[in-house]
């Protein structure tokens, strides 16, 4: 066994340990912390699997946003803990465990017995990269070869926003989402937000921009930008806009909308829906990605803010 394999086994073991902790620990808050730690660590595995694009995604999501979302919910729900229903009986738990183990074993067996050599679309995606002028193969798959999935996924984000907003009480409809965060303007949190947000903005835009040719991309960059906005919000330096704001809504559909328009242009003037003329491909894709990064950052930030809770009173810092 090589030292690399030993390291990988250990990495997997630590990860599984955190997973087990997340599932079996009694207290919800501890489980949540365990999962956040898991989310941070899983980025390592993705690097090890040579999937840096995914590693960045997991780091941005698992590191920042999931933690805030889940820990916030855990803190708000913790009063409910003692009153929550009892765990299912021993028999049920044993059955569930047995069936889960069986699933794991079957899945493991299947994965280990996959055919060799493995089928791969990597050569095809490299061979066709000329069509976009971008050299990050993952971005090419997302933006060109499987553009339809990416576009529909952006519509999913719009629907998630509609879903979250639809939970607002009627009186707060059109108002600002979530509770207003207040913090000492001279506190540590505000200090961190003042220093870190601008740095995070540079990093977010860098991660987005580098995605054309290196690992990175609109989603990863957008997630980082959203985190910075969230930091400023939690530190009381910024506030969520009212959901009835027209510019806000325009930004929220900018990504999918521009994608759709470019796609339709391809249908009318080019080879097909969602095709790009080779000469224009790179600027078009970058343009869509610029819109997408704005959309994603805003969407993720608003998803974390939750349903509108306050009427749209003007905000005074």
């Amino acid at each position: 066994m090589s030292i690399a394999t030993a390291f990988e086994i250990m990495l997997a073991a630590v990860l599984l340990g955190l997973g087990i902790w997340t599932i079996v620990v009694r207290e919800t808050f501890s489980a949540t912390v365990g999962f956040v730690a898991y989310g941070l660590l899983v980025a390592l595995i993705w690097v090890r699997l040579d999937a840096a694009d995914v590693a960045l995604t997991e780091a941005a999501i698992g590191g920042g946003l999931s933690g805030v979302l889940l820990l916030g919910a855990a803190a708000r729900l913790r009063d409910a803990e003692p009153m929550a229903e009892a765990a299912p009986g021993k028999l049920l738990r044993a059955t569930a465990a047995a069936l889960s183990v069986l699933t794991t074993a079957t899945l493991a067996g299947t994965v280990l017995l996959l055919p060799d050599p493995a089928p791969s679309l990597a050569p095809a995606s490299v061979a066709n990269a000329w069509a976009t002028g971008l050299s990050n193969p993952v971005t090419n798959v997302l933006m060109a070869f499987r553009a339809m999935d990416t576009m529909l996924e952006k519509v999913v984000l719009v629907l998630a926003i509609v879903g979250v907003w639809s939970l607002a009480p009627d009186s707060a409809w059109g108002g600002r989402p979530g509770p207003r965060h207040r913090a000492d303007p001279y506190g540590v949190l505000a200090f961190l937000a003042r220093l870190l947000s601008p740095v995070g903005i540079v990093v977010g835009i860098y991660v987005f921009w580098t995605g054309a040719n290196h690992p990175g991309g609109a989603f990863q960059g957008g997630a980082i930008l959203a985190s910075m906005w969230l930091l400023a919000t939690m530190a009381g330096l910024a506030d969520a806009p009212p959901v009835s704001s027209r510019p806000l809504r325009l930004i929220l559909v900018a990504g999918s909308g521009l994608f759709l328009i470019v796609g339709l242009a391809g249908l009318l003037f080019g080879a097909a829906f969602l095709s790009y003329a080779p000469a224009l491909a790179k600027p078009l894709i970058l343009g869509i990605e610029v819109a997408m990064v704005l959309t994603i950052a805003t969407t993720l930030g608003l998803l974390l803010s939750g349903a509108p809770e306050r009427s749209a009173e003007p905000w005074a810092p």
Partner: protein, 113 residues
């Protein structure tokens, strides 16, 4: 034993853990977390499959990577929606459980304990 084997087994185990948690953890928030774990296991499965498809110059088949990124976005929005629902339920009805029925019906008897 190589990268693919180790992380393939790891992915399968994470899937099993997530499944058990989704079924057996009683609190809705725990179910949501377990669902995330389950999803993460499936994404790792994609990652392992992508790694198997490595060719000279590319360490991992980009198509599964792209699928995972799309999947992560969807899973995260689902989590956010679920948490928003859960918090709203908590605000309206207090301590939230999933296993009570429509209000016209009495609470069902527990099964198996």
């Amino acid at each position: 034993m190589g990268t693919v084997t180790v992380f393939g087994l790891c992915a399968a185990a994470v899937v099993g853990l997530g499944l058990y948690g989704v079924i057996a953890n009683p609190q809705p928030l725990r179910k949501i977390i377990a669902f995330n774990l389950l999803g993460s296991g499936v994404f790792l499965l994609f990652g392992v499959i992508g790694r198997r498809g490595a060719v000279a110059g590319i360490g991992s088949d980009p198509v599964p990577q792209a699928l995972v990124i799309t999947g992560v976005v969807v899973a995260f929005s689902a989590t956010a929606l679920a948490i928003a629902l859960l918090l709203r339920l908590f605000d309206t009805a207090g301590p939230a459980t999933l296993d009570s029925d429509a209000p016209t019906r009495p609470r069902p008897d527990r099964f198996g304990g």
